[in-house]
């Protein structure tokens, strides 16, 4: 469990980091908090020739609220965002979800950008960013582009980032007054990756039920999955009666987990149903319904 040889660069400017990635192409890997990448190196599952350490780039660590929207630098530590009072006020779903990631020690090092770029199929942050309609800012040799979260996550440990692109910032739009939210996770132990996690956002809207619902499930496949059938149930029927249960069942039906050593597929589907139902009820309660 020692990494194979690699060269090490530690630029202090974003532009230098991008230039290094451009120079080395697919042989280079950015190093953020190292909480996912270093284990991969130690198991010799990743063998980059060059590591471009982003930890000395001061410009990527911000957490700010601007015109109502949240801007998070890719290198902001998970713990810093978790503790940020502005985030807790405006996007409590994010604060709550981060508390489910690993343990405090790991969140002290792990970054928001690292988790999103890594896109582990059971990670919390990609699911939450998808539910929140976040936008990712990427910087490459060609300049900056913005990718909506719906297009960013591209399958197990895959994203829309090119090998020579850096994720620099995540922008999260303001949530309307009266938005209900819930994050529910089932993991074997405190701090484990989710067996299944569900993020639910209920925004007030002009739909027949007065709700615009967002239901995102993770842990069941190749990354965060929007459960549009469940969303439609809620938009149509609201959250009263057995609507939450119906939404849970719809989500379970739409999920396509596979058997793995941690759980059989049928079990994960049970979790999707139960957690979605509970998350919808909790979000409805928070919405004042």
């Amino acid at each position: 469990m020692k990494p194979p040889p690699f060269a090490y660069e530690c630029p202090t400017e974003v532009a230098d980091a991008v230039a290094l990635l451009a120079a080395h192409g697919a042989d280079a890997r950015p190093l953020a908090g190292g909480q996912s990448l270093v284990p991969l190196l130690n198991f010799r599952l990743a063998r980059p020739a060059v590591l471009v350490d982003l930890n000395r780039i001061a410009a990527l660590g911000h957490v700010t609220v601007e015109n109502g929207a949240l801007r998070i630098g890719a290198m902001a530590r998970q713990a810093a965002v978790e503790a940020d009072p502005g985030v807790a006020r405006g996007w409590p779903l994010l604060t709550d979800a981060i508390s489910h990631i690993a343990h405090p020690q790991i969140r002290n090092r792990g970054t928001i950008g690292g988790s999103l770029a890594h896109n582990d199929p059971a990670a919390e942050l990609p699911a939450v960013m998808l539910a929140l309609d976040a936008e990712m800012t990427a910087l490459g040799p060609e300049g900056t582009r913005t990718v909506p979260s719906g297009e960013f996550f591209a399958g197990t440990m895959e994203t829309a980032l090119a090998p020579d692109e850096l994720l620099t910032e995540i922008r999260v739009p303001e949530l309307p007054e009266g938005t209900g939210w819930s994050f529910r996770e089932a993991a074997r132990r405190q701090g484990d990756f989710a067996l299944v996690a569900v993020a639910v956002l209920l925004r007030p809207s002009g739909s027949s039920s007065g709700i615009d619902a967002r239901v995102v499930v993770t842990g069941t496949g190749d990354g965060p999955q929007r459960m549009r059938e469940a969303e439609a149930v809620l938009a149509e029927r609201g959250t009263g009666g057995d609507a939450c249960e119906a939404a849970g069942n719809a989500a379970a039906q739409a999920s396509e987990p596979a058997d793995d050593p941690h759980a059989p597929a049928w079990y994960r589907q049970r979790l999707v149903a139960a957690l979605t139902r509970r998350a919808c009820r909790e979000a409805a309660m928070r919405m004042g319904r």
């Binding site: 759980a263 049970r270 979790l271």
Partner: protein, 774 residues
Amino acid sequence: MTTQLIGEPVERREDARLLTGRARFIDDIHLPEMLHAAVLRSPHAKARFTRIDASAALALPGVHAVITHEDLGSANAPMPLLNEDPGFIYPRTHQALAPGQVRFVGEAVALVVADSRYLAEDALDLIEVDYVPEPAAVDLAAAAQPGAPLVHDDTESNVACRTADNTGDIESAFAAADFVLREELRPERGAAQPMETRGVVARYDASLEQLTIWDTTQAPVSARGVIADKLGMAEAAVTVIAPDVGGGFGVKIYLVYPEEVLVPFAARMLDRPVKWIEDRREHFIGSNHERLMVHRIEVAATKDGRILGIKDHFLYDSGAYCPYGPINAQCAQAILPGPYKIPAVHSTYEAVYTNTPTVSPYRGAGQPHGNFVTETAMNHVACALGLDAAEIRRRNLVRPEDCPWDSGRIFQGNTPFIHRDSDYPAQLAKALDALDYEGVKRSQPAEREQGIFRGAGIAFFVEGTGISPYEGVEVRVEPTGHVHVTTGYPSQGQGHHTTLAQVVAETLAVAPEQVVVESGRSDRFAWGVGTFASRSAVVGGSAALGAAKAVRARALDLASDELEVAPEDLVLEDGAVHVKGAPQMAVTLGALAYAANPINTLTSGAEPGLRAADYYRSPDGAIASGVHGAVVVVDVATGMVEIETYVVVHDCGVMINPTIVEGQILGGTAQGIGGAFYEKLRFDDDGQPLVTTFMDYLIPTAMEIPSIEIHHMESRCSLNPLGVKGVGEGGAIPAAAAFAGAVEDALEPFGATVRAVPLDPPAILALIEGRAES
């Protein structure tokens, strides 16, 4: 005045060093010119090979050697068989390096020595072995069948050992039964996974022709013998030192692992110190496990719940070799009747070779398996007869007035299992009370209406402890007044130095700070065997007491000469011998030690020094016992379980140090809960391990372990002078059964019957939904 120390919660003398980072674990040992080793391990569960091409590895700058079986010569002779078993058919032990055939993924094939561990691992990638894979025997039940792929080609079956232990008239028992329970129970346990993995550092001093080995072993004295033998050296030229060791739990006693021969061999060959530190992945595949047993059990009972007889036939997964003997199966078999008066018990085990890492004892050594079988069967008999789980136990317990009660069973170390010195009914009453068992039962109907599924489970345990072989302790008073205590068995965190100091300091009436304890160095004390089987307090503690008493007697004799007063008129207090009633007439122990070394006047043949050694063996061991109880709430939508209450009632006899006893119980119980709910090793059909990291092997953390309420029942053991019974393993033994019982009770409306552990959430949901288990 003599201060009482035995029984006091004296602070652990080890803690200041351990907690402030001043301990010296194996990886803290840095020697000048030291090289680093890495082991090439088999990627196949079963394969042959004829050629190992290390040329590319050797060409890598910084690589000093690649050692294969051909280089080892006689050092590669098979390892010793540690325990005989009357039923052995094919005893087979491992070799340091696989000679042309590998039998599990992880088996050592070559050793690379390089300037750094990084380089050594780079070199591993460059070694080519022409493996020809063969079909492997992986599944326990399938491996036991005729026609299964053979793990050892020179055998006719994978059944290594078949041993029966039959007590009482089983035919009459079953003929008289009103009810017979028949079922298959599958207790599984994972691996100890101490926080510190294994490691070996070796230095050969060519000028003195002396080899020094630092080794994370639980048995340095025994390891010295095996290593010296393998390397063709005198024991006198080999020193084995167990430094601070971060947890053992059984996995660090094997005698010996390949690296314990390979690393010293390399150090001598290269004339450079060599270090090997096992990484976690290696620990999962290159160190021993405990795994599945499959018990087919039949229990004969009367309709009022008296158990008349048990028949059990079980398979035991031995892994690829059996150098330890099938001790786990032996122990599981011995404790089958538990604390119950069962007139007839007939059982047979078959230890089966599989192409998986070798199995050897882990905290409890098969007793958690045997305990799960008996205690779970008790629950199922109760359920079938419409009896309460506590009531059926009460009706069958051995009572104090029955004792000594010979169960007729034979435990590890050829120890007869005879109940005495404990009050099982009182233990049960205390556990039920602490658990509010009746209260839980009373609230169940109303709670179930509201969708709350709470249940209570209890499990007894009886544990063989303090068994053979012997251990020894030497106590020597220095002229400085310090008392030097040495023993061979090392500590892996148990606090031996604290408890030994308590025993010796009280006996010699000195302050514990005056007592210096050393253990685990073969150059200081080379008798006895090691630390395992909850033996140290019983066997080592009794030896320490014997040695200290002999020193005290000698001190009184010496003082009698010095003070010219009869020994009866002398007392030992505050580190000195006084004349009774005349405390000013005194001579200190230090002065007596000085006088005991009369360099110019010693009579030939007399022994100098104020010192004594004592050796203690307990032919009947010492049985510890107790009851665990759990209250759990099951979320029936997710199968997740919350442990609300966990109660331990235990009796380990006299507690030398109650805080240390509680530490042992808490740690053991945590490991028991791990085995009950979280920890499982898995292999695919080809024998590839699927669990090799802590992402996949789920050890419960402080967040998962509930607060555990401990109730002590201190009945003195009549078999040893300290009155102690072992306490190292008891916590780990009944947790799975207690937990399973509580889950069954919570899920009673679903008719859930637990037949296997660990019980993970999918398994629990399967019980609820009546699914065939995944």
